[in-house]
Symmetry: C2
Subunit: 323 residues, 2 copies
């Protein structure tokens, strides 16, 4: 049963064709400061420069375009998200002329609420994200677009992996942040299919470690307590059987990093890359620093850090001593 | 006499060949948010991603490589700068194996001092920047590398112009920040030679308006009072006859912008581009907003904003209400 869940390369390639011209091909940038620090050739994949400010738009767009291709467009799209999936769904829906509703917690950051509205999405504030979202779908005939537990979402996110390989054919290591696991599922599937010698490592906050927890439990159980992390983009309370299956099949290792290490890596990453990256984009650097054993031993080895998004609270950068 | 001062296209092309592979070709990125706001296709040239964090490395490297080509390498390189030229000179000198001394004011930002040392440069703190620098040159046989009044520096900075045109062959408008005028001199010379129909506009802080002042005076006189601006990268106290000549010959207009407009543009630019840009890189956006008459009338016209550098004081971003 597990294997039928897995998204294959051809689905990711079809996704790439579908979303081409509607998302940005983001640059893969050599970074001298990080290369020096980590004694490797370090490249960063700048998905912070993606439309809507994160990779999430790839999966959302692939899903709605797939529906249209199949002649199965619903009356609208609904989603629950406090973050990047919210803006991505609003954008994707507007691309196919559908209305979108996003259920957000009352505590959602104003900039993220604003992003949904900028792309024409309707925001419903609610504490019962999933229940409200399902009610909207039932009432209005909308389709719920899950943030990660969906093959079309995983295939869309996997296009980041293909793009990395198009610029850098066989990196030694690719490090990807893990929340619910949609991004790493797609990226690892793409990379292992095309460049099986490349190691793919996941990094997640120790205080929001749904995937590590699922790996230890042997199945995708919700975390015993709600995740709390500075890397808000990774605070999924559970992985899914689908993403767990991808990780088991394709990912070499998932490591956990502390909040302190994420925050330090976040500041240093912004300083070294001159890119506005959100904390979720910095867990990979935090992982490489904390787990030197992850790094390829060979001199001149190539390491890719996937900078997943750029929707950062800049005011927070000044919150403690700048590095 | 004026015309012999002008750097020509062939010198800029030679500079491009000389520095190729030693500097980054920086991306020219479409920006949907700014395009929507300004009702044009707006692209940003991300020189904040350049080595050392600004375009300055192009000119400095071209100068020292020219010396080497001519078999005229001095014992070392000296410069005075509180900012991006400092790190650029240290980096360029190290590329040809020369020692570098940079004279910096005691008030220099620690991060900029640190950048010089990272590239192996020696820092001398002094209030008499020019005098100390000349004394070092006399004592040690070093060559002084002026931040803008040097044909090799201007030719090196001009390579940004060639790169813009390589990605976008005939933009309607290119907006460039102006300090001492080295960048706009080179960029305008390159662009007008290759794409004469492109308008090149300079933007400078009203409180650091050395070029506008020189244009009004008819010659490159020092400003009557010292420049004070948030756009510290543009706070040259004078233009030079050489840069003034380039501006007169090639630049369509130089406009001034207020501190308030620069600060607002700076925050919005970072938010819209997800790039860490220093305030000097935001004067172009401030100018387009304040002077709508600058913008091409045609729908779909193409506007390039040159984001000159990324060495920003991030703590300052949180200094007032985020936009």
């Amino acid at each position: 049963m597990m294997s039928t869940m897995l998204v294959e390369l051809d689905a990711i390639e079809r996704a790439a064709g579908r979303i081409e011209g509607r998302v940005r091909g983001t640059p893969l940038l050599d970074n001298d400061r990080l290369s020096q620090e980590l004694a490797a050739r370090v490249l960063v994949k700048a998905e912070n420069l993606q439309l809507t400010g994160s990779f999430k738009v790839r999966g959302a767009l692939n899903a709605v375009l797939s529906w249209r291709e199949l002649g199965r467009l619903p009356a609208g799209v609904a989603a629950f998200s406090a973050g990047n999936h919210a803006a991505a769904v609003a954008y994707a829906a507007s691309e196919v002329g559908l209305p979108a509703v996003v259920c957000m917690p009352p505590s959602a950051v104003p900039a993220k609420v604003e992003a949904v509205r900028r792309y024409g999405g309707e925001v419903i504030f609610t504490k019962d994200l999933v229940g409200t979202c399902k009610a909207v779908c039932a009432e209005r005939g909308y389709e719920l677009l899950h943030p990660f537990d969906d093959p079309a979402i995983i295939a869309g996110q996997g296009t980041v992996g293909l793009e990395i390989l198009a610029s850098c054919p066989d990196p030694d290591l690719v490090v990807v942040g893990v929340g619910g696991g949609g991004l790493i599922s797609g990226v690892a599937a793409a990379i292992k299919a095309v460049s099986p010698g490349t190691r793919v490592v996941g990094a997640e906050p120790a205080t929001a470690n749904a995937m590590s927890y699922a790996l230890r439990q042997g199945r995708a159980e919700p975390l015993p307590s709600p995740p709390v992390t500075i890397a808000d983009g990774l605070s999924a309370p559970f992985a899914s059987e689908r993403t767990l299956a991808h990780v088991k099949e394709h990912v070499d290792e998932v490591v956990e990093v502390t909040e302190q290490d994420i925050e330090a890596a976040w500041r240093d990453l912004i300083d070294a890359t001159k890119l506005v990256v959100e904390p979720a984009g910095a867990v990979g650097l935090a992982a490489l620093r904390a787990h030197a054993s992850l790094r390829p031993a060979a001199e001149g080895a190539t390491v890719v850090l996937l900078l997943s998004g750029g929707n950062a609270d800049l005011a927070r950068l000044a919150g403690s001593t700048p590095t």
